[in-house]
Amino acid sequence: MSDLSVRAPAEMTAPAVDRPQRGTLATLLRTPSFLVGAAILLFWGVCAAFAPSFVPYDPYADDLLNTLSPPSAEHWFGTDQIGRDVFSRVLTGARDILTIAPLATLVGTVAGTAIGLVTGYFGGWIDAIVGRLLEVMLSLPLIIVALLVLVALGPSTPTVVVVVGLVFAPLVARTVRAAVLSERHLDYVAAATVRGEGAFTIMVMEILPNILPPIIVEATVRLGYAIFTIASLSFLGFGVQPPSPDWGLSIAENYGVLVGGFWWTVVFDTIATASLVVAVNLVAESLQRALAE
């Protein structure tokens, strides 16, 4: 270094203005709606994992002498049309949906992120063609697309995971693409190009870390809709198959007797479904607010 150098400016000795890194989690833990949502989610998670070992009755066992009995000390939530204990079935009913929905969300998020990165980064004709295909996918209501494919392939757990995941991929891709486009014009991308980095490196190492927050939010929102969609499919007969105590399936099996006044056969399942989707949504919303700071 030459002795002609400029004296070190004082700015480098000044304390760096530091914003706490852990701010997001701290903010979340102070958000009531997050705490409520997380608690409900945790409750259903525990039920999904362990309910069969602590519920009072076998959720699959019928009791034809004791059908449609109203809630009582013996059967807290009553029994259904073939005498199964509704309380035990509701608690174990989270199992299938809490397996399928997160897996489908994972499939959708990974596929969508890949598509969004590629279309947003390259633009041009790749974007035009893929974008058009995605718009076609999006021009059909999700339930219809899922229905179409499930009719063709037959409903099974892996099929439902893949189908719902792929149906969500265009939505995730749209979000990711928009995020990539707003990063794409920033100079750090040009700087990487100028030092000879390849497209894959730029997408994954440079751009992806910066767009993780919207992807995480998108994934939690999608999880809510995955539960919504899979529950609806189960209700229509194209999702979880009998004899699962799945809520959507149970409601489909029993809502015919609702008008007869046997409300307990469906009401607890509807409350369970609603609590789960709302909980996921509260978590997603709080996360979004926390990340937006």
Binding site: A8, P9, E11, D187, Y188, V194, R195
Partner: protein, 682 residues
């Protein structure tokens, strides 16, 4: 405290110990602390400050449009004798409708995109009680007064159909329509091209006399303030630190902050290696962080124990002047923050092979069938260790040229870029590792240029790995050497960009560009995102690295001061054509191309001397449909006749290689505007 003289009996605006604070996460942060000033009738008062000084907060507080987190925490603001801070809703609305008008930065966003200009103008008259017809007539008359040539047509236009300069004239017209007593201008020309900026400032100056309005002009641009204002107040960290008549204050500052700021400005006569710029060490304090003593003491070369413990009073220091400094008479003795020895200017070897030669470079964009010539047959050479300054307004092709050099876009077939005499492949992916590391860039905005999710170690280290091919301990050592070269320390290694100040971020960007010992670094507006006091340190750093490493710069800047300070050669672009090129001194001294002459005359100077400004008529034509003949003829003040419209003049060079593209003979071209003798501060 209120020590300054009031210029007229009843001031239009009077701030009386006005304080404003923002609440950030429940804590009150003082942004303005006891600011007192007066603006007399018909007076233009300039409020100068760097970012974060609180100058825009003054404007917002005056009209009671602070963001929800901000509140006036003390003092009064009187407009025409009425205290703004205690007005009820109806009185506030009356004041906004009749007494005060405001013009902000970014006119494109200040206008409602879905209403016609006519409708937005008419609103102003409608509030004052005009009928619809009368409002329309008065609107049209008002447009004529801001020099709109076809008001009727503009009345029916939507904001997006007008250029930036026209939009700002609309906003000014709307502001003056109500004949306000006070017109507040907050950075009204930031973001506009130099010639447009000059035009807007001229307009404001003319109209101010015509309408007799008082003006509060808020800006970071010392030159613009000096040219327009009678009196100036200098704001630092939310406090008014100095006030006085514009000419006297800039010629002989009485506060060490003002003095330091002026020394940071690259003015005529200052040059890299010969007369380097000074800098202000450190950076402005966070609001409210300095609890005792003078707010500027931590950065002041004159400060002593007294300064650090006792807050100086705002004391009279001469005719109409006041300063918040304990030692106003010693300001001129402020020691340099940077020692002044001249850098060894490298010996030039004219026989050497140029680092860069364009022979020539063209780029045509195809936009839906129509062709846009972003660059047409631009030929340039650049020698090792030299700086080529590239000057021109937006749309001139400066960025296209830079991107083509970097391989970010492919030039037209037939273009040739030679690096050290060898042809450079057009796109970065077809360049060799050596060619890639030889050409690097420092971007305008470090916030955009540095990946915000990466640490300094990673940012510089990755460049070292790619460009110097080092890894492991060798890479780490090289990263540390580079940080040292840009005056950062290893303390910054784990920091992310958001934890660094603007100047530090730009140093990281410079370090990254130098990772592989480049031959040519493109500096694309390297200081325009920075405050004046930080800018000079970066300019000195660039000059010093160049002297050390014999690197060449292609410097793109709209700031003629910066270009003049760093450049050995200057090239002037207009609509993708090279209009003038030559040694920096030749281009600045003249003879000038008429366009260069206009650009030079548009640059404001802190001396307050405004030479005869050369006004350019109309707007920069669209590149889609460039003028025939000389591309500049539609705006040229020196157009000779039909020959300019039909025949493009050649780029004719003299013996020294100073080339000008004009039909006028050299001896009739303008001369030496830039070096007209100006009163430099002692």
């Amino acid at each position: 405290m209120n020590a300054h003289m009031s210029p007229a009996a009843s001031p239009v605006l009077r701030l009386d110990e006005l304080s404003v604070s923002y609440s950030v996460r429940g804590r009150a942060m003082p942004v303005l602390t006891k600011v007192s000033l007066e603006v007399g009738r018909g007076e233009a008062y300039g409020l100068v400050g760097e970012s974060g000084s609180g100058k825009s907060t003054v404007a917002l507080a005056l009209q009671r449009v602070l963001p929800p987190s901000g509140r006036i925490s003390g003092g009064r603001a009187l407009i025409e004798g009425q205290d703004v801070t205690s007005l009820d809703r109806a009185a506030l609305r009356r004041m906004r409708a009749k007494t005060v008008a405001m013009v902000f930065q970014d006119p494109g966003r200040a206008l409602n995109p879905s209403l016609t200009i006519g409708r937005q103008m008419a609103e102003v008259f409608a509030i004052l009680g005009s009928s619809a017809r009368e409002a329309a007539e008065r609107s049209e008359a008002m447009l004529a007064r801001v020099r709109i040539s076809s008001p009727a047509r503009v009345m029916g236009a939507y904001p997006h159909q007008l250029s930036g300069g026209m939009q700002q004239r609309m906003v000014i017209a709307m502001a003056l329509a109500k004949s306000p007593s006070l017109l507040i201008l907050d950075e009204p020309t930031t973001g506009l091209d130099a010639t447009i900026e000059a035009e807007v400032l001229d307009l404001v100056d003319d109209l101010r006399r015509e309408f007799g309005a008082s003006i509060l002009f808020i800006s970071h641009n010392l030159g613009a303030i000096a040219g327009l204002c009678d009196r100036v107040g200098v704001l630092y960290a939310g406090r008014l630190v100095e006030e006085g008549p514009a000419r006297a204050l800039f010629a002989e500052p009485r506060h060490s902050y003002t003095e330091g700021l002026l020394r940071c400005l690259p003015r005529a006569g200052m040059r890299k290696g010969v007369a380097p710029l000074d800098a202000i060490p450190g950076f402005p304090p966070a609001p409210g962080s300095i609890k005792q003593g003078c707010v500027f003491a931590p950065r002041c070369g004159l400060s002593d124990e007294r300064c650090r413990t006792i807050d100086p009073p705002f004391a009279v220091v001469g005719e109409g002047r006041a300063s918040r400094c304990h030692y106003p008479d010693r300001v001129a003795d402020l020691p340099r923050a940077t020692p002044a020895p001249a850098l060894a200017v490298p010996a030039r070897d004219d026989a050497a092979v140029p680092v860069l030669a364009l022979e020539p470079l063209s780029k045509t964009y195809d936009t839906g069938g129509a062709k846009v010539h972003a660059l047409r047959d631009v030929s340039l050479t650049l020698m090792p260790g030299e700086t080529l300054g590239l000057v021109g307004e937006s749309g001139s092709g400066k960025s296209t040229l830079a991107h083509a050099l970097l391989g970010l876009l492919a030039p037209d077939p037939g273009s040739r870029i030679l690096l050290d005499g060898k042809a450079l492949p057009p796109e970065v992916r077809s360049r060799s590792a050596d060619e890639i590391k030889a050409v690097q860039i420092v971007f305008q905005n470090p916030d955009s240029a540095l990946n915000r999710s990466q640490s300094v170690r990673r940012l510089v280290g990755r460049a070292v790995k790619r460009l110097a091919g080092l890894s492991g301990a060798a890479r780490e050592a090289q990263v540390r050497r580079l940080l040292d070269a840009v005056r950062l320390t290893e303390r910054q290694l784990p920091a992310r960009p958001r934890q660094l100040s603007g100047g530090m971020k730009q140093r990281v960007a410079v370090a990254r560009a130098f990772a592989g010992s480049p031959r040519l670094v493109v500096c694309d507006e390297p200081t325009s995102a920075l405050d004046v006091s930080v800018q000079s340190a970066i300019l000195n750093l660039l000059a010093e690295l160049q002297a050390e490493r014999q690197v060449s710069y292609l410097l793109i800047s709209h700031d003629l001061g910066v270009v003049r300070y760093l450049s050995d050669k200057i090239a002037v672009l207009y609509l993708g054509r090279l209009m003038e090129v030559g040694r920096a001194t030749d281009v600045l001294d003249g003879p000038h191309h008429p366009y260069t002459e206009a650009l030079l005359s548009a640059a404001p100077s802190v001396s307050g001397e405004r030479g005869t400004r050369i006004r350019l008529e109309g707007q920069v034509p669209s590149g889609l449909n460039p003028p025939t003949g000389c591309v500049f003829h539609t705006r040229c003040p020196r157009r000779i006749g039909p020959i300019c419209d039909t025949e493009e003049p050649p780029l004719a060079a003299d013996d020294a290689g100073h080339a000008i593209r004009c039909h006028l003979p050299r001896e009739q071209l303008g001369r030496a505007l830039a070096t007209a003798p100006v009163a430099e501060p002692a």
